[in-house]
């Protein structure tokens, strides 16, 4: 009986120590996380859904209204490059910008997919995923492509069309885009 009592006492004390120690460990982990953030970060991280919502709101506020509508309806943005094939000629490529997938380059007239530009914007400032939320990823690609196409392409890994975004997906999305643009033309006749 005395032995059983000692065992029960040890188990009880062990459980008590674990319970009492938990908040301290949790607090220490929180402090470590806080310490790891740079001084210019003024707020704690938000839940992934909220980060995603904020990133989409920022995207909406920066891109053109029809580009936002395209992203909302189709899940990607199609932009025309500025780089001419020869000097100041017509743009060499159009691009499909997907969140967290390579940028797909298309020939501007035939819309035939010709390349994938695999690019990410890894950020290890905060704990957790290094990937930007969806809207930020699309916006980073959009801003760099629109402002300095060569810069984005220079940093990317180049792959053949269909390497990561299946060709069937690209062709389906080009067809969806054509239908979407036709619907918009009917709804909003050109001036």
């Amino acid at each position: 009986m005395g032995g059983l009592g000692v065992v029960l006492l040890v188990v009880t004390l062990g459980a008590l120590a674990a319970v009492m120690g938990w908040p301290a460990r949790d607090g220490a982990a929180r402090r470590r996380r806080r310490r790891s953030l740079p001084s210019w970060v003024r707020e704690p991280p938000v839940p992934p859904e909220e980060a995603d919502r904020r990133s989409l709101e920022l995207l909406r506020s920066v891109v053109n209204p029809e580009e936002w509508d395209m992203f909302r309806d189709l899940g990607f943005i199609c932009v025309t490059g500025r780089r001419g094939g020869r000097g100041d000629g017509p743009p060499r490529y159009r691009y499909l910008i997907y969140p967290h997938l390579p940028v797909v380059a298309l020939l501007p007239r035939s819309m035939a997919p010709v390349r994938e530009y695999c690019v990410q914007f890894p950020d290890r400032t905060a704990a957790g995923t290094p990937l930007l939320p969806r809207g930020d990823d699309v916006l980073a690609k959009w801003m760099t492509l629109r402002a300095d196409e060569d810069r984005l392409l220079a940093y990317a890994n180049v792959g053949g069309a269909g390497c990561q975004v299946p060709l069937a997906t690209v062709e389906r999305d080009i067809a969806r885009l054509a239908r979407w643009e036709a619907r918009r033309r009917r709804a909003v006749p050109a001036p």
């Binding site: 210019w40 970060v41 003024r42 707020e43 991280p45 938000v46 992934p48 909220e50 980060a51 995603d52 919502r53 904020r54 990133s55 709101e57 920022l58 506020s61 920066v62 891109v63 053109n64 390579p102 994938e116 695999c118 690019v119 990410q120 914007f121 890894p122 950020d123 400032t125 905060a126 704990a127 957790g128 995923t129 290094p130 990937l131 930007l132 939320p133 809207g135 930020d136 916006l139 980073a140 959009w142 801003m143 760099t144 629109r146 402002a147 300095d148 810069r151 984005l152 940093y155 990317a156 890994n157 180049v158 792959g159 053949g160 390497c163 990561q164």
Partner: protein, 87 residues
């Protein structure tokens, strides 16, 4: 003017805010602008074409390049080649 950093776990987060016409505030904006670029960020100002109204982005590498009427400067990590293409 607001300096905003796009970050995982945040969406965008405010780094600094101030009026660049006020000397103290301009200094604070300039300090944070340089700090972000020193950390390897890219920066852009959302702009609208004066003629067409089309929205565009202007990449900036110097505080002096920021248009006077800019409301926001956005920072994000520089691009890195993504996952290698599958064979």
């Amino acid at each position: 003017m607001r300096l905003l950093r796009m970050m995982p776990g945040y969406g965008e987060t405010l780094i600094a805010e101030g009026d660049p016409r006020v000397e103290d505030e301009r200094e604070a904006l300039l300090r944070e602008f340089r700090r972000q670029l020193d950390e390897g960020m890219w920066a852009a100002v959302p702009v609208a074409d004066a003629g067409t109204g089309r929205r565009e982005a202007l990449l900036v590498t110097d505080f002096a390049d920021i248009p006077e009427d800019a409301e926001r400067v956005l920072f994000w990590p520089r691009a890195a080649g993504g996952a290698a293409a599958a064979p």
